[in-house]
Each structure stands twice: as C-alpha cells, then as structure tokens.
Amino acid sequence: MKGLSSAARARIEATLGKMFDNIAYDLLGYIPGPGKRIIFSAKKPSYSLLNLFLESLGNRPPSDSERDYAKSLVQNAANYVTSLRDRTKASVSEAVESYIQDQSSKGKKASAAMINDIVMRELNKARSRLQMIAEAEGTKVRNGAVSAEIERVSKGLGIQDPSVYFVVIKDNKTCKYCLKNHFLNDRVTPKVMKLSEVKKTYLTTQERKDGLCSIAGQHPHCRCSMVFLAPGFGFENGVMKWIGYGHDEYARQKMMS
C-alpha cells in the first residue's frame, strides 16, 4: 500500500492553505492565523465583511464599541473559514491518497484525470460550504451593524428596549420560517419584537419552530433585514406609516395575539 510521501501531503495542504488565505483575505479583510490582527480600514479589500458592516452603519465612523463588535463578528466568520480550510485540507489529501493506494494495490498507476476529478469534487463540496458561510455571516454582520445603529439611535431617544421588525427579501424560494416568524398571520404585516428578544447567534431548528428571531436570520441563506420601528409608527397593509403619538405597535400586536 504505497501512498503519497509526507512531503507531498504537506505540499498539497500548503497549496490548499494558500488558496484559502486568498479567499479569506477577500471575505474577511485579513488572513486569519496566530498573531494576525483585524485592521479596521474602509480601503482594500472593498468587498469584505468589515466593509459590509460600515455600509450597514451608513458609512459613518464607528464608535470604539462598534469597532469591537465588528471585529468579533469578523473573527467569528474567520473561525468558520479556518475550520472549513482544515476540513478541506484533510478531505482532499485523504481522497487523493486513498485513490492512489487503491490503484497501487491493483498494480496500476493513478490517472491524472481521475485525480483532478477527485480534487474538484472535494473542492466543490467546500465551495457550497463557503457560500453558506459568506451568506450567513454576511447577514449576521449586516444585521449586527443595524442592531448597533438601532441601539445608538434609541439611546438618543431615551428608549431602553427598542422595537424592531424584519423585512423579508422575496424570491421564489422564500422559506416558510421567514414568513411565519417575520410576519403576523396575515403574511403582510411585519411582526414587531423588542431588540432584546432578537438572538445574536444562529437559531437551532427548535428555536426556529418556536418562532424566535435572530440577527443571523432564520436559516443559513436567510437575507431578511432587521429594521427599527420608532414609537408612534405602525403598519398599514404591510407599509410602515405614522399612526399617532403614543401608538405602540409592539403592545398592539401583543394584545391581538
């Protein structure tokens, strides 16, 4: 059973590591690793999660606490990317080595086309996971920035626990949980909740079934956006509008249910 040498295996892993570093730099704005720091800059790369955070803040300079929050969000995304990188390294080298050993036990040489297929198959699996990470972490960063902005605005208005709701991005694949948990039963009026009720982490299946909401959305590919509902505002046919002084949409919806 002759497989790859340890040096060849290390070179394969280094190749994949380099590839993930390039991807991570574009997505996160830095290359994760020991001693690496997240530098808060609106410059290059211009399409990173850090830039998305600033864009969601309305491109205003973030406060110190907002910077820390953004860094923690990006660090979380970096952990997911690092974990995917290590997993991909293991799965690619294992798949290639197992094929080479299999061919060698039959007294044959491995085919180049087959090795290419094996590598691409493993990389395609990693691609769909990377897409999920980019989409889900993007939603979390975007809504995280919005929640920071809502906290800042509501503090200025003297509101301790502001009301929020989710705007559902519609396409033909909108999930049932987005409809159920972000709308009232009429499926037109957004469901209003307090910011403290919105979770800051991913929802479990049970939490989703229980009707909870999160800044990360309802599911990994969720693109719903959290929005602040100022006092006195409510909804008419799903459109936010001024109702009158003293109107509390959250209380109204609670009374109805």
């Binding site: 497989g3 790859l4 040498s5 060849a8 070179r11 190749t15 994949l16 380099k18 590839m19 390039n22 991807i23 574009d26 997505l27 399409y47 830039n51 998305l52 864009e55 969601s56 309305g58 290639v96 080479i100 060698s104 040489k109 491995a110 085919s111 180049a112 090795i115 290419n116 590598v119 691409m120 990389l123 691609r127 990377l130 897409q131 980019a134 989409e135 993007g138 939603t139 975007r142 919005v146 705007v167 559902v168 991005i169 519609k170 033909n172 909108t174 409809l179 037109v188 957004p190 693109r223 956006s225 929005v227 505002f233 008419e236 046919n237 799903g238 459109v239 936010m240 509008k241 001024w242």
Partner: protein, 211 residues
C-alpha cells in the same frame, strides 16, 4: 355494416380535431395578449408609485398598496375562464368521438378480412389524431401551470411591498453589497480552485504516482 364509409368518418373526426386545436390556439393567443395588457398596466402602476414616492421626499409610509387581494374577478379573467371551460368541453367531446371511432374500426377490423389493410391505415391515422389531441390537452395543462406560477408571482409582489417601502436606501445598498461579496468570493473560488487542482496534480505527478 359493409357500407360504412370510413374515409368520410375519418374526415369528420379530423375536422372535429382541427376545430379543437383551433379553439385551444385562440384561447392561448387571447391569454397571451391579456397577459401583455396586465404587464403593461403593472409597469404603469410601478412608474406611478415611483413618482409618488419621489414626491413624498423620503417620508416613511403613506404610500397606497399596489395590489388588492381578494377583490372581484376582472371581466377579462371571467372571459378567460369561460374560454378555458369551452375549450375543455370541445376537447373532451373530440377525444370521446375519436375513441368511439377507433372502437368501431377495431370491431370492423376483426370482422372484415378484405378491407383489413385499408382499415388498418385508417386506424393508424385516427390514432395519430388522437395523439395530437392528447398533445393539445398537455398544452392546456401547461397553460394551467403557467397560471399558477403567475398567481405565485402576484403573492411575491404583494409581500415585496415591505422591501420596497420599509427598507431605507442604506439597507438596500447593504443587501446589494452582501450579494456582491458572495458573488465575488464564489468567482474567486472558481479560479483559485482550478489553480489548486492543477498544482495538486503536479505534486502527485512529481511524486511519480500518476500518469
């Protein structure tokens, strides 16, 4: 029984089939032009909405809803429904007549040996006609599916009102940026993964493990 004019019978059945196909075609054409009218009306409506929201100067809320749900059926929809049911009836009639004709022919075929070849040709022709009629029925089914898709699209538009009116420009820009980030990352992944695969193959070949 011997005096049955199969050719005449075949011609009659064929004319019924032609009528049905004509009806279905016209129904489809009218549905198409009706859709075009509805689309242009919706476009006008959207333009009007955009103008109104511009006049509101970024104020929140207050815009009228684009869609009204559960209202009375529009006259053209009623006409469309009538056309559909008429086409249905004709189709059903055509099918049953054809099937009856085939049954008669089959019984003749078993009795008369002399005209067997002639009758068999007629039978094949009628079978072909029946196939075409069934194709027309399939087309109708497809039209029904399209209708359902349109209804689903209407529902999406109704729910998209929240996105149009409740989301600020900043939010919309952020949503777009998020999508662009994902697209750019995936595009980069495509080129990087190709390079990595080539490099890995090179490493294996250098080891002398692959052809």
């Amino acid at each position: 029984m011997g005096n049955v004019d199969y050719k005449k019978k075949y011609m009659e059945l064929r004319s019924v089939l032609m009528n049905v196909i004509d009806q279905v075609y016209r129904a489809g054409y009218q549905q198409g032009s009706k859709d075009a009218q509805v689309d242009s009306l919706m476009q006008q409506n959207q333009q009007l909405m955009a103008q109104m929201s511009g006049m509101m100067g970024g104020m929140m809320g207050g815009e009228p809803r684009v869609e009204e749900e559960g209202g009375p059926m529009a006259p053209e929809d009623q006409a469309g429904q009538f056309m559909d049911s008429a086409a249905d009836a004709h189709e059903q009639q055509g099918t049953s007549e054809l099937e009856q004709g085939i049954a008669e022919l089959e019984s003749e075929l078993s009795k008369k040996e002399a005209d067997k070849e002639h009758t068999a040709n007629l039978l094949a022709a009628i079978n072909r006609s029946l196939g075409k009629l069934k194709e027309a029925q399939e087309l109708k089914k497809s039209a029904a599916h399209i209708k359902k898709m349109r209804e689903a699209n209407k529902r999406v538009q109704t729910l998209s009102i929240g996105y149009k009116h409740n989301l600020s420009k900043t939010h919309k820009k952020a949503v777009n940026k998020q999508q662009e980030i994902v697209e750019k990352i995936l595009k980069k992944w495509e080129s990087e993964s190709q390079d990595a695969a080539t490099e890995i193959l090179g490493i294996v070949q250098k080891e002398g493990k692959a052809e």
